[in-house]
């Protein structure tokens, strides 16, 4: 780790008061856990948990040609977005690989709010600025310091947040957002998340964040609300097979290889990486991100080698003990001929090869009630 000054989110003091264990992450001092990863994971799956995700980057694309610019740099089709809708997409290199994965929110015709990974924010902003330099009619603005972000996640997230707002939350469908007040504070409320549960992400001015945080904890008390750290955030997103940039996707992997072909809209017109992705779609992918479960005893971790019939065939991108499912699972890239469910693999864990087999993804899917 380089010795740079770590930033703190507006909720840092809340975490210290809650006796969180604080770790450096993406240039911030972030809570990795409060009481324990397993308990925080369970609370989010069964009731409601609260995450400080203020470290995430917010970047505005504004101007009369904002849409054209978003279309140029991302692979999904932002022209399909109505005002108040969000879209999962990829910021693409000309090679069709990921600069980052992101959420694109259409705020109005002349403003798209991009929410990007904390660890990539500076890189993304520089990349977007470089693209915008030769582009007339759109400006890129880093708004990250203007927003704190609180994720309220779990089956009881709606009833908890509803206590603090006049907005009828049940009318906000998945991947939609509204501007509205929470505790009389102006916010943007999006029905999005990174846990595999129902929930909301609330964007608010940094100075107002501690008040909202405490109000949410009070509103969720009867439901057994608990703050949850980065540790639980990772195990929750892992079970839901939501990719983590830097692990499961990066600038060497394409959406097709990552099983994210649904976010590539080749027919929408020109965009960065389109030619490379067209070629790959035509030729077919050679490797694919698969999920596997351990058959032998052991836990696969990021970076472990994947073997098949005496040959090293790939690398584990994410792996851990999945708390809700109670087993050791992993993800990794393997040649497509080894990607079928049931295919036996071996994971090299501390010089030993341990049996595993390919399973369906996602590992966990919540029962949808609405």
């Amino acid at each position: 780790m380089t010795q740079t000054t770590l930033k703190r989110t507006p909720l840092y003091q809340c975490h210290v008061e809650a006796k969180a264990r604080i770790v450096p992450f993406a240039g911030y001092e972030m809570p990795v856990q409060y009481t324990g990863v397993l308990e925080e994971h369970r609370v989010v799956r069964t009731s409601v948990g609260l995450f400080d995700v203020s470290h995430m980057g917010e970047i505005d694309v504004v101007g009369r040609r904002a849409l054209d610019f978003v279309q140029l740099v991302t692979c999904n089709d932002a022209s399909k977005l109505a005002v108040g809708r969000a879209q999962y997409s990829g910021l693409m290199t000309p090679r069709g690989t990921f600069v980052d994965d992101l959420l694109v929110h259409k705020v109005d015709d002349a403003r798209y709010l991009l929410v990007v990974n904390a660890a990539n924010k500076d890189k993304d902003y520089a990349y977007l600025c470089a693209q915008a330099a030769g582009f007339d009619g759109a400006d890129v603005i880093d708004r990250s310091d203007d927003y704190a972000q609180i994720a309220v996640q779990g089956p009881r997230a709606l009833e908890t947040l509803q206590k603090l707002t006049q907005v009828n939350l049940s009318e906000i469908k998945y991947y939609r957002f509204v501007e509205g007040s929470v505790e009389k504070v102006a916010t943007l409320i999006a029905r999005t998340g990174y846990t595999g549960e129902d929930g909301f992400e609330v964007y608010v001015a940094p100075t107002e964040a501690p008040h909202i945080w405490h109000a949410l904890l009070a509103a969720g008390r009867d439901a057994g609300i608990a703050p949850a750290g980065l540790g639980a955030r990772d195990t929750l997103r892992f079970e839901a097979c939501m990719p983590l940039y830097g692990n499961d996707i990066d600038d060497t992997t394409t959406p097709y290889e990552a099983g994210l072909g649904w976010i590539v809209k080749l027919e929408k017109g020109g965009f960065l990486g389109r030619e490379a992705l067209m070629r790959q779609q035509g030729a077919g992918i050679r490797r694919k991100l698969v999920g596997f479960e351990m058959v032998g005893r052991g836990i696969a971790r990021h970076g472990h080698a994947i073997w098949s019939e005496g040959k090293k065939v790939g690398t584990v991108t994410s792996g851990t003990h999945a708390p809700t499912l109670g087993k050791a699972l992993g993800m990794g890239y393997v040649p497509v001929e080894l990607a079928q469910v049931g295919t036996p693999l071996e994971i090299e864990i501390r010089d030993q090869r341990v049996a595993a087999r390919v399973v369906e993804m996602p590992f966990y899917r919540r029962a949808r009630t609405s």
Binding site: V32, V37, L38, G231, G298, I299, T320, H321, A328
Partner: protein, 128 residues
């Protein structure tokens, strides 16, 4: 917190309790707190020769893997089989039911601290 005074401690946060030629080894309260929720414990089979300071096993929490080092040399007599199905015992009772292995000591322990010295060591490390 106070450490049990009936055993000795290493700088790598294992404890060892010697009775005759047999030594029981585990990790300390501080070590389990640092690890977080333990979900997998990998221990050596009986009969394996452990060297002092060598890797005795691995403890995995949700987030991380941590090695356990042998406080003294000896042959593994038993590993705590209950941890296969209940790894959380390492968190819940690190000085009791969360013990890891029993060794038949073949060498004298060295560089071990008593409870008071271990507590000073933790304080110097800035651990509370």
């Amino acid at each position: 917190m106070a450490q049990p005074t009936d055993r000795m401690y290493t700088k790598t946060h294992e404890w060892v309790q010697v009775a005759g030629t047999e030594a029981t080894v585990g990790i300390t309260q501080y070590a389990q707190e640092q690890l977080g929720d333990v979900v997998f414990v990998e221990l050596p089979p009986a009969g394996k020769q452990a060297t002092r300071g060598g890797v005795l096993g691995n403890i995995e929490s949700v987030k991380a893997v941590s090695e356990v080092f042998a406080p003294l040399a000896g042959e593994v007599v038993a590993a705590n089989g209950e941890l296969e199905t209940h790894p959380e015992l390492v968190n819940q009772d690190p000085y009791g039911k969360g013990w890891l292995v029993r060794l038949k000591a073949s060498g004298a322990p060295a560089d071990l601290m008593d409870a008071a010295a271990y507590e000073r060591f933790l304080a110097e490390e800035g651990a509370h």
